[in-house]
């Protein structure tokens, strides 16, 4: 069954913004699918609202739409592009759900679009809990005892019969969103109510608990001829009860005999056949009772998933790419294995190493959130590490996490051990090691955690080795001992701590003794065949397979695990850097440890090192590769932290000098520079003690913005209004800032913020790439603010000033490549807030809006080329149409957390809206972000005194658009005085019915509720939380309200229209 020649144009739907449970693994799968289909001569039409993705690059598809992922917009695109088929399986749950919606609404039939990958019946059978259970029963596979609930009573009844704990899973939500474990009646009521609400079909599955059972997952691929292979088995370190996305997972499975593994393999294959997944990848999850081996199927996904991205990276078998080819008719045996070249894809990868995946959480961003890990995924990113043994992989994985805390500096409390072991939280791994150090036996720990004794034994050995190291020293070190430690995955930093010496001293001694890392290849076949793909990991063995090339080569340091403030945007930059290097005939070498990304696809760069981004691991690669240059400016903060140490060791960093990158972070030096350049900035100072901070604040006046230096995403950044708060902050923040000072800035209230991305070459020639106006006022982190390109309300004179400052700064810092500057405009004065001589979060957005790949130009400049030679644009890039970027927040995963925006970044992802006017672009961005704005209805308005002067004008616009107004007393009387019709409602603490009641009753369609600034009161919180719960858009700033009015006006005025990036930028190239 070869390629289907009846298909020509294929539509691929992406997964939209990065959210918890759905991250850049779908950029990876979508990109692979698009590449594979185009390479085979198909025309690809791609839709994704997320501009930070690589898949939305105009080069990767024939038509690329950055448009909201909703039925209406998809229908418009389908009508316009007339695709022959829709590939539904590579864009996560979002794409799958949307495909079902399009099919059921008859849209696919109307336009003659065939659903390929998974058919509608198969999707339903896999996704509908009851149909799935019936299907499994039919083929003799057990599932946990369960029942589908549509109301609370059913749940109580189930619990009365089956007992607690029980597990609740809402239907059709991703990442287990809204689910949980109920240990008692109270839990049951809370979780069930939330789950029913979050499920689009108002259904929740209640299930017998398999808590503590062993959890496994198989990645399965099937072709149209019914050939089935298992790509990878994965075993969870954390037993059942913790969502797979929040579990440490290990590949291959470690504790199953062949008999048990084959039972699982047989089950997975039967499952795929019964569900009817015709082609492509699926994953099937199993739980096994460790006492008697009883096995149950937990779930299956009829699409590529987070686990399939992991499995692809873990084995070298590109699941999404193969799945795309199978969807267009190929058989597995007709596709070649890229890595061995001689063997077909119809085999099962076998690996001679162990892979560990460790999740990364961001609870520090959400004070008040419940850190307990359960059935709802809460992590924002993950790392993968490869080692020859589990111990080595785990050790490397822990270092890849970049916890910011030096190993051994974590504080543990002996009294907390039982609690920290029994209740899984992000601290558990640390506490497991601490428990061993504190004398706990594996048996006792197993009793508390149900973690398999084999895994515990590995941890025990690691701890034992660490403890043994403490009796050694640099002088007494011997080769055998060091080799043993390194083979256990223990880092030079850990050894240095044990020996009370420096990391580099350990490194030197180690190399003297002949203990050096070598690189092994990921080859899909355990060395049975030769590998032609340099996909490498470090280990301590006898032979190095790196086999470095002799061409000119440049190494790119990636951005590590996704976290809030550092995510896919930087992967976009790194991938483009790699493509650009290849375009310049320079060998590109990628270093990264994030399995979700496109950068860790072995197809992206000439050479891939799947390694932790630590000094030790990067130096190991440098030793072997001896690159001509290392790029540190594309991976966010992670590589920047390494830049100076690498430079000091003679590693050639290309682009802006790390010393100048550092200078921009050094308040004293930078302040001096601004003074010399005569560029204003808010009054500021640096403090290393509370007294100093208070002194500075008193001098420059409150409110002040306080933050540690060298952080990304506004980590620990706060606006404080009084001395007490400054002191409190200093007590809590200093531990994060280590020996780096705290920065104290005058906070410019109500200023307009501007973000600028610019390029500068070695001659100081500057190109302004994008000037973005933030929609939220200053004080909201730039990553959390919607912004618009080109600016809509900044006078040309101020733009000129901004351009002038940007050029001055770029030249003064000798920027080579990209630079980002943040400005604030208050009362006509332009202030510089900060300068980052590196790629910023907005680079992909600006690239999509201007049609110019900024990282590509930047790389060309870093290689010594001149701006005038690499682009015909001068001064500023033109922007056709209007582009709005909006953030997406994870508040629905963290009940109880105040969603008010502030200087600490909390969004996980972003979307872009394109329009002829600002309103249209903003409307689309809001739609894409999952907060559709109402066309009509009632607006609830409550603003604090500061905004009272402007509120009437905005309210009038809402009224003019046909909205009814409701307000609390103060605001209402103001609006009534302005001649507007407005109902009055109680504040939450005044009585009832109050605003929350109206929200619950569905009587409010939009909330405008500004923060009071200094403190956020419980009253406000409850309204904002209720708005999120009942999915009513909640605007917390005046500027946001103004933008919303524009958007609603557009919704009433403008037709639904879509533009592909290729159309928008047709004139270019």
């Amino acid at each position: 069954m070869p390629r289907r020649n009846d298909l020509h144009r294929i539509l691929i739907i992406g997964s939209g913004p990065i959210i918890i449970g759905q991250a850049c693994e779908f950029d990876y799968s979508g990109t692979q699918a698009a590449k594979a289909l185009r390479a085979d001569g198909f025309e690809v039409i791609l839709v994704n609202s997320n501009p930070a993705t690589i898949m939305t690059d105009p080069d990767l598809a024939d038509r690329t739409y950055v448009e909201p992922l909703t039925r209406a917009y998809l229908e418009e695109i389908i009508a316009k592009e007339k695709p022959d088929a829709l590939l539904s399986t590579v864009g996560g749950q979002t794409a799958l759900n949307l495909s079902v919606e399009l099919a059921e609404a008859g849209i696919l039939d109307r336009y003659g679009v065939e659903l390929i990958g998974a058919k509608i019946d198969a999707i339903k059978k896999a996704e509908d809990r009851l149909l799935f259970k019936d299907a499994m029963r039919k083929i003799g596979l057990e599932t946990p005892y369960s029942q589908l609930l549509t109301d609370i009573d059913g749940g109580l009844d189930f619990a009365a019969r089956r007992g607690y704990p029980c597990i609740l899973r809402p239907s059709f939500t991703m990442g287990g969103s809204g689910g949980g474990i109920a240990y008692n009646r109270e839990d049951l009521l809370t979780i069930l109510e939330r789950g029913l609400d979050l499920s689009p079909v108002h259904e929740v599955l209640i299930e017998e608990s398999a808590l503590g059972w062993k959890e496994f997952e198989l990645e399965v691929i099937r072709d149209l001829a019914d050939n089935v292979i298992i790509v990878c088995s994965i075993e969870n370190f954390d037993p059942m009860g913790v969502h797979t996305g929040d579990s440490i997972t290990v590949a291959p499975a470690q504790t199953l005999t062949d008999r048990e593994y084959q039972m699982m393999r047989d089950g997975a294959i039967r499952c795929l056949r019964e569900i009817g997944v015709d082609t492509g990848g699926s994953n099937v999850q199993f739980a096994i009772n460790p006492k008697d081996g009883r096995m149950v199927v937990i779930e299956m996904n009829p699409r590529v998933s987070r686990s399939s991205a992991l499995a692809s990276k873990a084995t070298g078998f590109p699941i999404a790419k193969i799945a795309a080819k199978l969807a267009v008719g190929y058989r597995l045996d007709e596709i070649r294995n890229d890595i061995t070249k001689v063997t077909p894809a119809s085999f099962e990868p076998t690996i001679d190493y162990v892979v560990a995946k460790i999740p990364k959480w961001a609870f520090e961003k959400f004070p008040g959130a419940d850190t307990t890990l359960g059935t709802q995924m809460k992590s924002v990113g993950e790392v993968m590490a490869i080692g020859r043994t589990f111990k080595e992989a785990l050790g490397k994985g822990i270092r890849s996490l970049e916890t910011g805390k030096k190993f051994g500096s974590e504080t543990f409390d002996v009294n907390l051990i039982p609690q920290k072991l029994i209740t899984p939280t992000p601290d558990r791994l640390g506490y497991l090691r601490f428990a061993f150090r504190s004398g706990y036996t594996a048996a006792r720990i197993h009793e508390m955690t149900a973690i398999d004794p084999w895994f515990l034994e590995q941890l025990r050995q690691m701890v034992e080795e660490e403890v043994a190291l403490e009796t050694g020293s640099l002088e007494t070190a011997d080769r055998a001992g060091l080799m043993r430690a390194k083979r256990m995955g223990i880092s030079d930093v850990q050894i240095a701590n044990a020996w009370k010496t420096s990391e580099l001293a350990v490194r030197t001694r180690r190399k003297e003794l002949g203990v050096a890392a070598v690189f092994n290849r990921v080859d899909t076949c355990s060395a049975e065949f030769e590998s032609f793909t340099p996909y490498l990991y470090s280990t301590y063995e006898t032979q190095c397979e790196a086999n470095p090339g002799t061409r000119k080569k440049v190494m790119i340091l990636g951005s590590g695990p996704n976290r809030i403030g550092q995510g896919i945007e930087f992967d976009y930059c790194c991938c483009h850097a790699s493509f650009a290097l290849q375009g310049e005939d320079v060998e590109s070498i990628m270093v990264n440890c994030n399995p979700e990304t496109v950068s860790t696809d072995y197809d992206t760069s000439d050479r891939l090192y799947f390694e932790p981004l630590t000094l030790e691991n990067v130096l190991n690669i440098v030793d072997v590769e001896k690159p001509d240059g290392v790029i540190v400016q594309f991976g966010g903060q992670t590589p920047l932290t390494l830049a100076l140490p690498l430079k000091n060791l003679g590693v050639p960093i290309i682009g802006t000098d790390p010393a100048n990158i550092d200078l921009a972070e050094d308040r004293k030096l930078f302040g001096k520079l601004l003074e010399d350049l005569q560029i204003p900035c808010p009054d500021n100072g640096t403090a290393t003690s509370a007294d100093e901070a208070v002194e500075i604040a008193r001098r420059i006046g409150y409110p002040v913005l306080v933050r540690p230096s060298y952080v990304l995403g506004g980590r620990a950044m706060m606006i404080v209004y009084d001395e007490d708060s400054v002191r409190k902050y200093m007590r809590e923040a200093v531990s994060f800032s280590q020996d780096r000072p705290v920065l104290v800035d005058r906070f410019l209230e109500d200023a307009t913020e501007i973000d600028v991305d610019a390029l500068c070459d070695i001659d100081g020639d500057v190109l302004i790439a994008g000037i973005m106006e933030h929609i939220e006022e200053a004080g909201v982190h730039s990553g959390d603010s919607s912004c618009v390109l080109p600016p809509v309300s900044i006078p040309e004179s101020e733009i000129k000033t901004i351009e002038e400052y940007t050029i001055k700064l770029a030249r003064a810092l000798n920027v080579i490549g990209l630079m980002n500057v943040q400005y604030a405009i208050k009362d006509g004065v332009v202030y510089v807030l900060e300068v980052n001589p590196r790629a910023s979060r907005t680079v992909p957005y600006v690239s999509k809006a201007t049609g110019v790949q900024l990282p590509k130009l930047a790389v060309q400049l870093m290689l010594g080329r001149k701006l005038r030679d690499v682009t015909h644009y001068r001064d500023r890039l033109p922007v056709p149409l209007t582009f709005v970027k909006s953030p997406v927040f994870p508040f629905n995963k963290f009940p109880g957390v105040d969603p008010a925006l502030g200087p600490e970044m909390r969004s996980t992802g972003e979307v872009m809206g394109v329009g002829h006017n600002f309103g249209e672009a903003f409307l689309k961005a809001q739609l894409g972000a999952g907060t559709p704005l109402p066309e009509k209805g009632t607006v609830f308005i409550s603003v604090n005194d500061r905004y009272k002067p402007e509120v009437a004008a905005i309210a009038k616009r809402f009224a003019d658009l046909g909205f009814e107004l409701v307000a609390t007393r103060g605001t209402a009387s103001l609006l009534q005085a302005a001649g507007l019709k407005c109902k009055t409602v109680f504040k939450v603490n005044e009585g009832r019915p109050n605003a929350v009641d109206l929200l619950k009753a569905g009587a409010i369609q939009l909330v405008v509720y500004t923060t009071t600034g200094a403190l956020s009161f419980e009253d406000e919180k409850s309204i904002r939380r209720s708005a999120i719960t009942y999915r009513v858009p909640c605007i917390t700033t005046m500027s946001g309200a103004r933008a919303t009015v524009e958007a609603i006006a557009s919704r009433q005025r403008d037709p639904i229209r879509v533009w592909s990036l290729q159309e928008i930028h047709a004139a270019k190239s």
Partner: protein, 378 residues
């Protein structure tokens, strides 16, 4: 820490940690790439005369379990692994894997760079070697390795065969309350199975498919076999070079045409030689659980379990009655054929798995069907 040394005939020496009995054994050094199933590999008599490298770096994790033995004892000469588990974790385990091997006085070397060793063998081909946890002088061990007699020309199959005929009745038993095995058929066909080093799971699978099995020694004559009035004859797997097995080949030649025959692995090679084909030694063999085999009769790919150092040359048959049924998609070698006129078929790989995927279990039912059809024709 006790060390152990693996010395190869080409002078290459690898050193690791001794994890087994103090012992010195020699043999052909081969590698297996299966991720699961070390116990089945240890106890597969086809590994007679071979020191086995396992590419999965973590061995011993789940201990051993009597139910998973493929024969009465380990047959490998020695074991080479990257890391051997210090503990056992599995609900079915009844012995530690380390003890299981030590009780058989086998040398085990761990903490050794198995990947480099495998790459060496892949590029240089299978070679002889000595694994010793006693002798510490590598030069002496290399000399010993060079003195090992070559496997070519040795009749190992007879050496590992049963000395007396016996009846086998054990069927496949689920490993978990959740394993779906299917209902075992009542024994309807009498199968005489030649033991050239037979794996127990073949016997269990035959029983499960409805066979009453009599196992006979490797040198049992065709006439004695026919005297048992079999509905079919099974030719088992086994160790070593098929070419020197002239007696067995002769017996099989006399059985073709008289009764349905099904052969696996060495049984397939013996059939190939009996029907006029030739065998040859593969550079480093096929040993693993992930080999793609195309079944030309169904047009489907089966993921299969392999363990063979020799293969039948598909082009060596002059007889037009031989139909190639299975081909290895990795290297295009012959994996199965059948006779167009006589009820004879065989596969080079291991449909009984143990260890490995169950994709080809249908072959046991095919055998039963063949016996059924042949019985009707008679």
């Amino acid at each position: 820490m006790d060390s152990a040394i693996l010395a190869l005939e080409d002078g290459t020496v690898f050193e690791g940690r001794s994890f087994g009995a103090p012992a010195e054994r020699f043999g052909e050094v081969v590698f297996n790439t299966a991720i699961t199933g070390y116990q089945e590999i240890f106890t597969d008599p086809s590994y007679t005369g071979q020191i086995v490298i396992l590419t999965n770096p973590q061995i011993g994790n789940y201990g051993t379990s009597t139910a998973d033995n493929e024969s009465a004892r380990p047959y490998i000469e020695g074991l080479v692994v990257r890391e051997f588990s210090a503990i056992t974790s599995n609900w079915r385990s009844d012995e530690e894997a380390r003890a299981f091997l030590s009780n058989a006085a086998l040398p085990v070397v761990s903490d050794l760079d198995t990947r480099s060793l495998v790459r060496h063998i892949r590029s240089k081909g299978t070679m002889r070697g000595v694994l010793s946890s006693i002798e510490k002088d590598p030069a002496k061990l290399v000399a010993k390795a060079r003195a090992i007699p070559s496997m070519a020309g040795l009749d190992l199959a007879t050496r590992v065969s049963t000395s007396a005929q016996y009846r086998w009745t054990e069927t496949v038993v689920p490993c978990s309350p959740s394993e779906v095995i299917g209902v075992a058929n009542q024994p309807r066909y009498h199968v005489v199975a030649y033991d050239f080093g037979i794996k127990r799971n073949i016997l269990r699978r035959l029983v499960h498919s409805g066979c009453d099995v009599t196992v006979v020694p490797a040198l049992t004559s065709a006439e004695d076999v026919l005297a048992l009035k079999p509905d079919g004859v099974f030719l088992s797997n086994g160790p070593g070079d098929p070419e020197p097995l002239t007696t067995q080949i002769g017996n099989v030649q006399r059985l073709v045409g008289k009764t349905p025959i099904f052969g696996i692995c060495l049984g397939h090679q013996i059939l190939g030689l009996a029907l006029g084909g030739k065998t040859f030694k593969l550079k480093f063999g096929h040993r693993g659980a992930n080999h793609p085999v195309m079944n030309h009769l169904t047009g489907k790919v089966e993921i299969t379990s392999h363990n063979h150092g020799f293969a039948v040359d598909a082009d060596s048959f002059s007889d037009n009655d031989i139909e190639v049924t299975h081909i290895n998609l990795n290297d295009q070698t012959l994996e199965g054929f059948r006779h167009r006129r006589e009820p004879v078929f065989c596969v080079q790989y291991h449909p009984e798995a143990a260890p490995g995927p169950h994709d080809s279990l249908y072959l046991f039912d095919d055998f039963v069907r063949l016996m059924s059809e042949h019985g009707k024709r008679k």
